[in-house]
Every structure is written in structure tokens, then in C-alpha cells.
Amino acid sequence: MRLLIIEDDRESADYLVKAFREVGYVADLASDGEQGLAQAESGEYDVLVVDRMLPKRDGLSLIGALRDKGNRTPVLILSALGQVDDRIKGLRAGGDDYLPKPYAFAELLARVEVLSRRRGGPAEETTYRVGDLELDRLSHRVARGKDELTLQPREFRLLEYLMKHAGQVVTRTMLLENVWDYHFDPQTNVIDVHISRLRSKIDRGFERPLLHTIRGAGYMIRDGIR
């Protein structure tokens, strides 16, 4: 995967490039808005990571210029402005995701992976399958092997989101944002409890667990043991 990081703070930029390269991605760096725009237009990138406050051209106007030219590369905005209305502004400007600083790298990585997958991925499927777990989005039916599972509506949506991103790390914040549509930060492990309830329904009594906890990052649903 090719990434372009547009960030003016040298130290955090270097940290990002290094961290992404360590997980096996190609990461390029642009240190101001104009250079970033030029590079984003010429290069074939899977995801752009854009800081909001940049010299020469700010992040939002960069995204606007890119979108005006028909470039639909997924953009993740990084910003010190983390309030709800800042987020809304960022997404309206054409960003695909918004992550307030300071962030954990695991969170950023998970979101970048989801964004990159979104791009080339197949159209929304009606049935998700992971191992012998099957979720039918139209009939709201969930089954593991031959057993029909009964899920609460919210558990269904939680599982649906996890399965849509099967094989990818999904963070607690991503779940809170996408499954519950809340953008605040609960002080408690509220998501973990929902996950453990879901886990007790889909994994309990089965030999192979599918819902995995990724330490320090979040959760992942996948077939096979990591």
C-alpha cells in the first residue's frame, strides 16, 4: 500500500513514515500544502494522511482542490482541532475520516487500512462470511455453522461492522463512531463489555474463536488464530 503523509512537523512526520514502513507500507512525505497537493495529484496513492494546519495551503483547502479535480483518493485528516464541529467541517471538505491529535498509531493504522480497503473493495455485499460465521444483511440472520444465533439489533450492527472489516483491526473509537454514532470519548471500557457479550454469543462453545482482541489496538474478526 502506498501512503502520502502531508505533515509539516518534522518529528511526527518522520515517526509516521517510519512506523508505516515498519508494518510494510510505502510512505512518502510532503511537508507543506502546495507540495502535498502536487504529490497527491501526480502519485498513485491508496490513502492520504493530511494534517489540517499546514504551511502554504491548509489541509482542508488541499482536499477541496483535490476533489475539485476529480481525485477521489481516500483522505484521513489529522488535526489538533478535535471537537465535533471541527470533525464535521473536515468531513464536509471532502475528508473520509478524521482523527484528532494526539492519537495512538494503532488507531491511525486501523483507520488507514479501512480506508484503503474501501477504495478498491467490492460493492456492498449482502452476505458476510468469516469462517463458518455467516451474516445476512437483508434478512438480519446470523448463523454459525448450523446454529442460528439470536442477536440484539445493536449486536447485529456491531457484528456487521466487524465482519465488513474482517481481517482488519477495528478500534474502540471506530466502533463507537460507526456503530453508535457517538464521537465522544467514554471514560470507561463500555465498548469492551459489548464486545464480550457479542463474543459470548458467537464464539462460546465453538472450537475456533473468530473475534479476537488485538492488544493495544482494538478488535478483529477473522478466521484462524493470529
Partner: protein, 490 residues
């Protein structure tokens, strides 16, 4: 600027000058109209008299001839205060009358004219003016009858003097009044300016003097005082925030630093280093959370978050939060329940959700029943009841109430009022885990919507109620906070 310079620059004084000019103009034109009419009236009166006498004398000439005419004229000319009379022969020689000299050419034209003249019996050189009428009698004789215009001149003089005096009086009174009014205004403005300067110098507790007359300056002062009240409240809030930031951020920062130092000091195993680093990350996550909460409170307090307001049902918020926290509560041995009635609300949904989430988190954290020594045979039902937390959404009058009720130890009466005050944290909660800003944020969100956070005794336990006006628009907020300020000019 001198005091006088200040005085004449006041609006009141300038307005006085304008009015002064207008009034002087008015007085002058009134008198001019009066003078002109008086003059016309006197002239008409003279003309009538002269015409009548001319007719009379012509008649005498017609009946009694030249001799009769001369006799009549001589006779009349001798009366005291007599009119002017002159009879001339066809040669132009005066043959009777009391006129000594006339402006040249007067006798040559018949009809009315105004002329300078001198009487026969007058020795002085004083010029007099008269209105005269010349008639051609038969056989070339001419008759002049006229009247002195002194009366008219004197009348005119009186009026002119009156005009001078009245303009003078208008100017003097006007200037005096203007100075008086301007000084009064200036004095009050100076008082206001003095106070504002003191306030600008940093004394935010100063207030403008408000008179009892309720005039426009009083209203201005009242409004400015209300504004100062708000500024002072904001400044106090800001100070408390920074004090809290100092406490809430410095304490964990110190812990963070100590831990890093400790890890460096003793050459430990890799596992120990790892452990120290993990705790460092944990601590900094906590710091970020605290920082976010403080920012959020500051934002809600300053009213910036008023942008994202829309209409929604508070019952949905209550149900959503219940759904989110119910498993957590259960895991903690509490029973989270929800009771809702439709409660339409206009506000920032995200912030209200977060405020309610904070109240629920508090209830789960602190609302556990007090571990009293259980009396023998204490029934399980009572225990289950005391582990209940109820989220409630409903309307009460024009308010929407979102409440979270637990049956834990509650907050002592004395501390409760203290806790509702913005930014105040109870000492007891500082020592417990969490940023401890939950109530502060909930209170700030309520204030943003023009409502308040109430803490009520639930016998036992605590009921935290977000009371928000159902139609909390942005502009209503100030009005709701400051009912004393007159909104409209009375």
C-alpha cells in the same frame, strides 16, 4: 483637552447650537413679518386719511374756488399735528400750505409718492419723510396733501429693538441651557468613563453608576453593567478552568515524570521497562482525556458549540445511552433502566448525549449502595432495588428533564450546591479514578442550552437532572440567564 473644549464638543452642546440657530431664525422672521405687516397697515391708514382729505379739499375748491381752498388749507395747516399741505399755481409757485421744501419733481407727478420734506415752521435741518398725494386741480393748480412717516419709522424702530433683544435673549438662554445640559451629560459620561477605565485597568468588580431617572444613559449603564456581569462570570470561569488545568494536568504529569525517572534510575529488566512505558502511555491517555474534557467545557461555556443545534427527542438520547451503558452496568453489578416519554428538544445532540453519558458513568462509578452492616435476614429484593440506576427523559412544563438516579451514598446536602456550581469539583471525587470532570461538563452543557444541572437527594442516593428549556435556542440563553436586564425600551 480643556474642560471647555470637552464641553463644546459634546453632542448636547452641538445640538443646542443647532436649535439656537433655528430659534433665532424663527424669532427674527416672526418679528420681520410683524414689522412688515405693521408698516403696511400704517401706510394704508395714512393713505386712507390722505385720500379722504384730498377729496374733501378738492370739493371745497370746486365749490368755493381758489380763495376758499387757500383759506381752508391755511386753516388746517395751523392745527397742531397737522398734515402736510401745499397748493401750487400753474407756474409752480407755492401759494398756500405748510411745506417749506420738497424733493424736486414731487409736484410734477400726480398720485402717490414718498418724499423728504421740510415744514415751513421748522428751522432745523432734520430731514423728515412723508407719504404725499398730488392732485391736479382744474386750471393748472396742484394740491399736495401728505402725512409724516415719523410714526411709522418709530414703530419700526421699536420692532427692530424688540428683534435685537429677543434674539439676544434666545442666544443667551440657549447657550446657558446648552452648557447646563452638556455639563450634566458630560458629568455622567465622565463618571461612566472613569469607571470603565478602572475596569479596563483590571478591576472587573467595578460597576457603572445608575441614576434613578431611568433615562437613556441609565438604561445604557444598566446594559453595560449586565455585560460586565457576564464578562466577570466568564473571567472567573476562565480563571477556575486554568486553576483546574493546573491541578488536573500537573498532577498526572508529575506522576508521569516520576515514573519515567524511576524507570531510568534503576537498571531494570526489559519487562519492567515495558511495564513502565505501558503505564506511561496509559497516563498520557488519561491526560489527553482530561484535556479534551476541559476544552469541551470551555467551549460549551463560551457558547461556541451553539452551532450544531437541531431538533430531536430527548427520549432517543436516553434510550441510546441506556443501550450503550446497560451491559457495562450489568457487569458492574448494577441494573441500568430507562423510562422515557416523548420530550422534543432543540439542542446539540452530541453534547447532551455526552452529558448524560457522564451522569450514567458517575452513577455506575459512585452510585453503588453503601456497604452497611447487613441486618440479619436482609432481603435480596431491597438489595436489588438499591443497585438500580434509572435514566429518565420527560417533559415538565416547558422544560425537558433528563435524569439519572442512583441509590448510592449520594452527595451530602452541603456539597451538593457546591458541586452544581460550575467547575467546582468535590474534594472527595478528586481522589477517585477518572478525570472527575463529568459533572462539570454536564453542567456546562446544561448552561449552554439555557438550562441547569440539578442534584437532588433520591432518599437514598443521588438524582442528577439535566433541566433544559424545550426550545433552547441560542439567543434565549442570555435572556434566561439575565432576567433583570430590560429587553426592550420601556
Amino acid at each position: 483637552m480643556t474642560a471647555f473644549g470637552k464641553l463644546i464638543r459634546t453632542t448636547a452642546f452641538r445640538l443646542t447650537l443647532v436649535y439656537l440657530f433655528l430659534f433665532a431664525l424663527f424669532a427674527a422672521s416672526l418679528l420681520a413679518y410683524f414689522a412688515w405687516n405693521t408698516r403696511r397697515l400704517i401706510t394704508e391708514q395714512i393713505a386712507t386719511t390722505v385720500t379722504a382729505e384730498t377729496g374733501e379739499v378738492s370739493d371745497i375748491f370746486g365749490r368755493r374756488g381758489l380763495r376758499g381752498l387757500v383759506l381752508t388749507i391755511e386753516n388746517r395747516a395751523l392745527r397742531p399735528g397737522a398734515n402736510l399741505y401745499l397748493v401750487t399755481a400753474p407756474t409752480g409757485v407755492a401759494i398756500a400750505g405748510n411745506v417749506g421744501s420738497l424733493a424736486p419733481g414731487v409736484m410734477a407727478t400726480t398720485g402717490w409718492s414718498e418724499t423728504a420734506y421740510r415744514r415751513l415752521d421748522e428751522q432745523d435741518d432734520a430731514e423728515h419723510r412723508a407719504l404725499v398725494h398730488v392732485t391736479e386741480l382744474s386750471s393748472g393748480f396742484r394740491l399736495l396733501i401728505g402725512r409724516d412717516l415719523e410714526e411709522r419709522r418709530r414703530m419700526f424702530g421699536i420692532i427692530a429693538k424688540a428683534a435685537q433683544w429677543s434674539v439676544l435673549i434666545v442666544v443667551v438662554l440657549g447657550l446657558g441651557g446648552g452648557v447646563f445640559v452638556a455639563r450634566r451629560v458630560l458629568w455622567r459620561i465622565d463618571a461612566i468613563t472613569g469607571t470603565t477605565q478602572r475596569i479596563m485597568a483590571g478591576d472587573l468588580s467595578g460597576r457603572l453608576p445608575v441614576g434613578r431617572s431611568g433615562d437613556e444613559l441609565d438604561r445604557l449603564a444598566e446594559n453595560l453593567n449586565a455585560m460586565l456581569e457576564r464578562i466577570e462570570a466568564l473571567m472567573t470561569g476562565l480563571k477556575e478552568v486554568s486553576d483546574n488545568i493546573a491541578h488536573d494536568l500537573k498532577t498526572p504529569l508529575t506522576r508521569l515524570r516520576n515514573r519515567a525517572e524511576e524507570a531510568l534510575a534503576k537498571s531494570a529488566s526489559e519487562a519492567e521497562y515495558r511495564n513502565a512505558l505501558e503505564r506511561t502511555i496509559e497516563e498520557s491517555d488519561g491526560l489527553i482525556r482530561t484535556f479534551n474534557a476541559l476544552l469541551m467545557i470551555a467551549r460549551a461555556e463560551s457558547g461556541q458549540a451553539r452551532g450544531n443545534m437541531d431538533d430531536f427527542d430527548a427520549a432517543d438520547v436516553a434510550n441510546g445511552i441506556h443501550e450503550l451503558y446497560e451491559p457495562l452496568a450489568e457487569e458492574d453489578g448494577m441494573a441500568l433502566q430507562v423510562k422515557t416519554l416523548p420530550a422534543p428538544l432543540h439542542g446539540n445532540r452530541e453534547l447532551i448525549s455526552q452529558a448524560l453519558a457522564n451522569l450514567v458513568e458517575n452513577a455506575i462509578k459512585y452510585g453503588k449502595p453503601v456497604a452497611l452492616p447487613q441486618p440479619l435476614g436482609a432481603d435480596a429484593v431491597a438489595d436489588a432495588d438499591s443497585r438500580r440506576i434509572v435514566i429518565e427523559a420527560r417533559c415538565a412544563g416547558d422544560q425537558v428533564l433528563l435524569s439519572v438516579t442512583d441509590h448510592g451514598p449520594g452527595i451530602p446536602e452541603g456539597d451538593r450546591k457546591h458541586a452544581v456550581e460550575r467547575f467546582v469539583r468535590l474534594e472527595a471525587s478528586r481522589t477517585l479514578p477518572g478525570s472527575g470532570l463529568g459533572l462539570s461538563l454536564a453542567s456546562a452543557v446544561a448552561t449552554l442550552h439555557g438550562g441547569e444541572l440539578r442534584l437532588v437527594d433520591a432518599h437514598p442516593g443521588l438524582s442528577a437532572i439535566l433541566a433544559i428549556p424545550a426550545l433552547a435556542g441560542g439567543g434565549d440563553r442570555l435572556a434566561a440567564q439575565m432576567p433583570d436586564v430590560p429587553q426592550k425600551a420601556a
